[in-house]
Symmetry: C2
Subunit: 219 residues, 2 copies
Amino acid sequence: MKEYEKTKLNRVKRGQNRAIYDVEKINTILDAGFLCYVGYIYDGKPITIPMAYARRDDKIYIHGSTANRMLLSILKSEETSITVMHLDGLVLARSGLHHSVNYRSATLFGSLKKIEKDSDKSQILGWIVNQMMPNHWGSLRPMHQKELDRTLVVEFTIETASAKIRDVGVNDEPEDYSLPIWAGVVPIKQVAEYPVSDEKLIEGVSIPEHVLAYYQQNK
Amino acid sequence: MKEYEKTKLNRVKRGQNRAIYDVEKINTILDAGFLCYVGYIYDGKPITIPMAYARRDDKIYIHGSTANRMLLSILKSEETSITVMHLDGLVLARSGLHHSVNYRSATLFGSLKKIEKDSDKSQILGWIVNQMMPNHWGSLRPMHQKELDRTLVVEFTIETASAKIRDVGVNDEPEDYSLPIWAGVVPIKQVAEYPVSDEKLIEGVSIPEHVLAYYQQNK
């Protein structure tokens, strides 16, 4: 089992029994989504922006327009963290204090690098699209050179990370179990609805198999 | 229409046509969720953590244990931002470049204050629970004094904010509309599954009406 080293930065302080440093488990959390929250410092202020990403090995890739001042600030700031969270349930206890949520979350710390080579950029953009919709990139028209030129692709190398998972039921105070108060978990899920085709599709083009498969797996 | 003043901090630079500064519209985005991403600076590094919140007027309330070093760091850091985002769809275009998501997001900047008075703390904790599950607080046992004592309640006053909403279909390059490539939107929704009662409920306690109503409205 490969683990991230516990440092001052990534050591989980609250709820240590839920702390995870295992690389594979953290990767599983990262691979279950495609939206991350990137934290950076702008003008001395902490800012968080949601961005699409792809993971490959210990790298997270994000992208944006070369005119995206936010992404340029992220590159310049050097200090960046990335957070990914999946909400799995509302935990409703007998007392307010023990209310909680079930979730899987990961926080990553690392360093950033701009990807320069066009062939690398194009491959990574394919990974980002496929992380959102598996097997999708191959069905699209190839990128034009001018599109690649105006796209900034940034590689974040995970240097340290931690994750937390809560996936259990209600934990109430021992004396509260005798109260006539309901407690339980409301499971929460992110689902896909049936794909809505663009009105301007040319005749004969139907929803591809891989998009239908995504819907079936996520409905 | 009351608007947040556009400053260097909150002015939306990319996709200005989607920028929103209207207070009511931003409040609607905030009231549609209960999980926010709080950005703060720890040891010179930007960190983002997901937290439950409640909104009242121009205030966002968050809470945690008094032993929660993270929340103490947030209070101490003075600079904080809060991001809320709802994912509404995957926008699959004919070209990679025009892939996007439909979403509603808000970013808030403001100042923090610790709530000192017990009666205020208790009321605010009720708001936080009710933001997650409407009408729920009244069904719980009242908080014990020792629970209030070890709970830190923090008030964030929104000083400036901006939001972005994307809720339209695919926007492709004009010449790409003739390609035999599928394009469309896959709507994404967060849903609740049927509540799972705690195994240790005493006899005769059933799922409350307001929890069933939440399930019906979110299933």
